[in-house]
């Protein structure tokens, strides 16, 4: 606004020049978070090596990954365990420094073709700014996780690196066959479609756009930081666990007030396993979302099978997806 006022006082040549400069600056700012993704991580193939690490909370004991590692072997993959995957430092899987060391090694080691998290919990927010993405950006690989891993997914999206929102290794053998199969397809580059009966609350419509998102609390926590998502023109996925409905209301409004829903093409609402609050809020989380976003026209797909549930289907963030929310069936297609 202020620059407009300044321009009035400038001579024409200088004004034109400044406007041009300003336009260049705008294009460059926009390009960082919103340019088309040029480089996708290579699809996995049999014989590839992947690493499992714990970037947030600790794993309860060293046996919890056995079944997951066995499954990865069945998929033809070799699994290495990061040095601190079972480390413990209070709630964390090792100190901040140990978790940074494991992540950095996994990013930079050329022999590692994909990175899988053992579990989420809490802790990525503390170390995200200490990570060096230089090598990883040049040679991206698939990174798999959700919940607290949303911090990395958002940072990756800002850096224009695709990543996979999916079940983690400690829970993968308890997941549904669909959850496991979609992860396999995402990792090995096989197109897949997720289809469910349409919920009565859904807002119908179709959209095509880049998929982004993750855990609502963490997306909200990224606001104002360098990892804040640019959601414009994209399809946003949200899931939540263990929060009372009033907090969901507060976070949705907080995201709305920061402009996160301006210009998005669609909203996919995964599982919301919420906590009872002392006072009855009076609205369900679906009503909260519909009411807060009533001024927007984009399609909304409720009860999408992803989040803190066994049927946690894989989502490829950074990929252009096709969203259809029809009267009978709703679907999300990854070509």
């Amino acid at each position: 606004m202020n620059s407009t006022l300044i321009f009035i006082k400038m001579n024409t040549t200088f004004k034109t020049l400044s406007l041009l400069l300003l336009a260049v600056v705008f294009v460059q700012c926009g390009s960082q978070k919103n340019a088309a993704i040029k480089k996708f991580p290579p699809n996995l193939k049999k014989g590839d090596t992947i690493i499992v690490l714990s970037p947030a909370s600790n794993l309860s004991d060293s046996t919890v990954l056995d079944n997951g590692i066995q499954l990865m072997k069945e998929w033809g993959l070799q699994v290495i365990k990061a040095p601190h995957v079972f480390a413990k430092d209070f709630t964390f899987a090792g100190t901040d420094a140990q978790r940074i060391q494991d992540l950095q090694m996994a990013f930079d080691n050329k022999n590692v073709k994909a990175i899988m998290c053992g579990r989420g919990g809490y802790g990525l927010n503390r170390i995200i700014d200490e990570l060096d993405f230089t090598t990883y950006k040049k040679n991206p690989k698939w990174f798999v996780g959700y919940s607290d891993i949303t911090v990395l997914h958002n940072e990756f999206n800002v850096l224009r690196i695709p990543s996979i929102h999916a079940t983690m290794l400690a829970a993968i053998t308890k997941a549904t066959p669909e959850a496991r199969n979609t992860l396999y397809n995402a990792l090995f580059g096989i197109p897949y479609t997720i289809q469910t009966p349409t919920s009565v609350e859904n807002k119908l419509g179709e959209a095509k756009g880049e998929l982004v998102g993750g855990n609502l609390s963490l997306i909200d926590a990224m606001t104002g930081s360098k990892s804040e998502l640019d959601t414009k023109g994209k399809i946003l996925f949200l899931e939540e666990v263990d929060e009372p409905v009033y907090k969901v209301d507060s976070m949705i409004r907080s995201l709305m007030r920061s402009g996160a829903f301006e210009g998005i093409k669609g909203l996919i609402v995964g599982d919301f396993s919420l906590k009872e609050s002392k006072e009855d809020f009076g609205y369900t989380y679906k009503q909260v979302i519909l009411e807060a976003l009533k001024k927007y026209n984009f399609p909304i797909y409720f009860d999408f099978p992803a989040g803190h549930i066994k049927d946690n289907r894989a989502l490829i963030f950074g990929k252009t997806v096709h969203l259809k929310v029809n009267k009978e069936q709703s679907e999300l297609r990854f070509d």
């Binding site: 809490y122 609390s217 926590a221 104002g224 930081s225 409004r253 907080s254 007030r257 920061s258 609205y283």
Partner: protein
């Protein structure tokens, strides 16, 4: 460049002035809980009006968004009302914040009093350039300490005094000066990126919290750090933090160690255990006002 200036103070109250109690967030369990608040204000020579819907109940809220907004807007626009005392917090202020028209208020500012969920209003008023009062609400007067009541009176009637508190051994000592602003940590954090976001440059940040797990406190502090708030401050005053340490994820410390870790690169004073927040001894704090802190090994002086 470094002139730290007060935000605009609304006119201080005087005997005979009228104030209005409104409920912009959660409902009152019983209308009678604000009786002690009304009696107190009347004992100060104030006339007390009640918002039309102050005792309303709609789900979690003191009336629908429209009703709460209508009450608040009326209290804001009426020139005979000299202060707005929020009945209680809870949750709901942010749902009506963007619909409030502050154009009459900016011409005829008045004191807006409350805390907790009312932090959303404090942030917005700070953004607009006005002082406001973080203090006990009518529903809390019955159990409030004499100090909570005296500081509320002094702040409203323009007679702020220096507050001296014992020094916590974890305090980061020093002297500093800055404009005081803050409130409930979760609400402050939720304002980031919005039109009500606080400009933290040269501010002294006050924070209090209730019922949040320690990992969430840690996450919110890292959010404030990552959004650039913490390195612009002149100091931090930490009020009451109430949480169940048993059910929290183990962190190897309390909220105090979490806060110290988040500001480990900073050199400004950090004062713990200031008596303000969800406690009976909720000392009134004038937001938007320049204060000085003198934190020594023995006592901490906060001068308004």
């Amino acid at each position: 460049m470094n002139n730290i200036t007060n935000h605009t103070p609304p006119p201080y109250l005087k005997k005979g002035d009228t104030i209005m109690i409104v409920a912009p967030a959660g409902f009152l369990k019983e209308a009678s809980v604000i009786q002690s608040g009304i009696a107190l204000a009347e004992s100060w020579g104030l006339k007390v009006l009640l918002g039309k819907h102050y005792a309303e109940k709609f789900n979690h809220f003191a009336g629908t968004d429209e009703q709460r907004l209508a009450d608040f807007q009326e209290a804001l626009d009426r020139t005979d009302i000299k202060a707005i005392w929020c009945a209680r917090g809870g949750y709901g202020t942010v749902r009506i914040l963007d619909q409030i028209d502050f154009s009459n208020f900016t011409k005829h500012p008045k004191w807006i009093i409350g805390f907790s969920d009312i932090t959303a209003l404090h942030a917005h008023l700070h953004h607009l350039g006005f002082q406001s009062l973080h203090a006990t609400m009518p529903g809390g007067i019955r159990t409030a300490t004499p100090l909570a009541i005296d500081t509320l009176y002094n702040a409203l009637f323009g007679n702020n005094k220096t507050i001296t508190i014992p020094t916590n051994s974890l305090n980061k000592l020093g002297t500093t000066e800055g404009v005081l602003i803050g409130g409930n940590l979760a609400i402050i954090d939720s304002m980031t990126g919005s039109i009500s976001e606080i400009d933290w440059k040269d501010k002294i940040m006050f924070i209090e919290e209730i019922g949040e797990h320690l990992y969430r406190v840690d996450r919110m502090l890292y959010s404030l750090k990552r959004s650039g708030a913490l390195n612009q401050l002149k100091g931090i005053i930490v009020g009451d933090f109430t949480y169940d340490i048993e059910t929290s994820l183990p962190f190897g410390g309390t909220h105090r160690e979490i806060i110290l870790n988040a500001v480990k690169e900073q050199t400004y004073p950090v004062i713990f255990d200031f008596p303000a927040g969800h406690i009976d001894n909720n000392v009134a704090l004038t937001f938007g006002k320049k204060i000085t802190i003198d934190a020594t090994a023995d006592t901490t002086l906060i001068n308004f």
